[in-house]
Assembly symmetry: C2
Homo-oligomer: 272 residues x 2
Amino acid sequence: MTISAAIQPLRKEDDHLTSRQARLDYRNGKTGSTAGVASGFVQGNLAILPENLASSFHRFCQLNPKPCPIIGMSDVGDPRIPSLGLDLDIRTDIPRYRVWRDGEVIDEPTDVMAHWRDDLVAFVLGCSFSFEEALLDEGLPIRHIERNVRVPMYRTNIACASAGPFAGPMVVSMRPFKPAQAIRAVQITSRFPSVHGAPVHLGHPQSIGIKDIAKPDYGDAVPVEPDEIPVFWACGVTPQAVIAAAKVPFAITHAPGLMLVTDLKNKDLAVL
Amino acid sequence: MTISAAIQPLRKEDDHLTSRQARLDYRNGKTGSTAGVASGFVQGNLAILPENLASSFHRFCQLNPKPCPIIGMSDVGDPRIPSLGLDLDIRTDIPRYRVWRDGEVIDEPTDVMAHWRDDLVAFVLGCSFSFEEALLDEGLPIRHIERNVRVPMYRTNIACASAGPFAGPMVVSMRPFKPAQAIRAVQITSRFPSVHGAPVHLGHPQSIGIKDIAKPDYGDAVPVEPDEIPVFWACGVTPQAVIAAAKVPFAITHAPGLMLVTDLKNKDLAVL
């Protein structure tokens, strides 16, 4: 699998950009990881599907809100999602896309103008960058950010509820914490249900089908020290893995780690 | 130590009593564990100290709110605490007391009329019965209740902040949960800061100085299955252990497990 091959470490030099400026840069051809870009603004995972598959995918998200929290959605054939940015054009504003045919990536363009069709529906799903900002703001250290690598992600034995052709296991991301920090992390991320929310598991990787914590299925391994607990959150790679496994005739996603930067503020997602 | 020797299993037959009726029964000489009595009402730990020690103890509680959350307090020499019950008399309404001199229990009477003095101040501290009710209401199983034994409690290497003569380690109670239940338990108990609140630790007993989870310092051992996580909450035995260790000339506490039943409702303690 190459799903997360393109996730890049943090780009701190672009943290001061506004969301609108970041989108304009990408629209004009700039590319690269969005990690750390436009600090404070919500970033999202993208899934674009033809209308005849979109209702099944929508139901899949509804049934699996922890890995697939919808934060925005377009009308059929409409490239705009005004609730995420008045000027936003979903065909151009992401630094790099993946175009899928029958489960294979056939193109990785920096815009999808050439692939756009009148029957497409765009879904934007919450992403862990938002809750990571909240964890950092509360002083919790995040191992993969400290090490400037990608978050480790694992396929689990937790089956998502299926909808039409969309089915498969939940993918989770892992962050190690000392026990008291793990408790605090549960409290903090519980406030953010639209960006994966509270962890789905902690402490016993083998209970959710993870055989070797040192060998993530996506991203990079990070060490879990003997006095730490591995804490697992539902991951936005899940829908992309499910779309790939369904081998649908046509789909567009973002390239992993190169997300949609929206005008929403992370702080505004807190339910408390 | 015999601090918790008298904690008894649940008395389900008295769960329908009102708090006022339960107190009247105890006032009239009835005794026995209050676990499960007057379901829905808040129960509290008791500590009574002479005025010259009360300010230090009050500060100890202020500095250590997780093990010592104050839910009520009397005026000097006044046996009433109207905020916990209009008719409440702290000298008679607890099923059994412990009277301490120089760190030793010298009497275990069913009232303390003979020991009352005009310089005494009563403190009532929140107790885990309240958050256990919330956990049970949410469908989480509690091992020691299922087994009808006392909760296992442990002295830790977490030092309480000291105040005057009051110092010592935090005592914690332990409840084993499957990982997803442990996450839910953090969320539920976070809503109840006045009854110990969120756990203080999970997963690595040795990190907080617990050498053998099968050998609690107070209460009864319960098994922790291989796919479970031991979750630790600050425990109301802490102030009693601290009072014993301080060898203060005079103090009165409840007998462990035989608590003050108040007119507060557990549900009303939820901050969210």
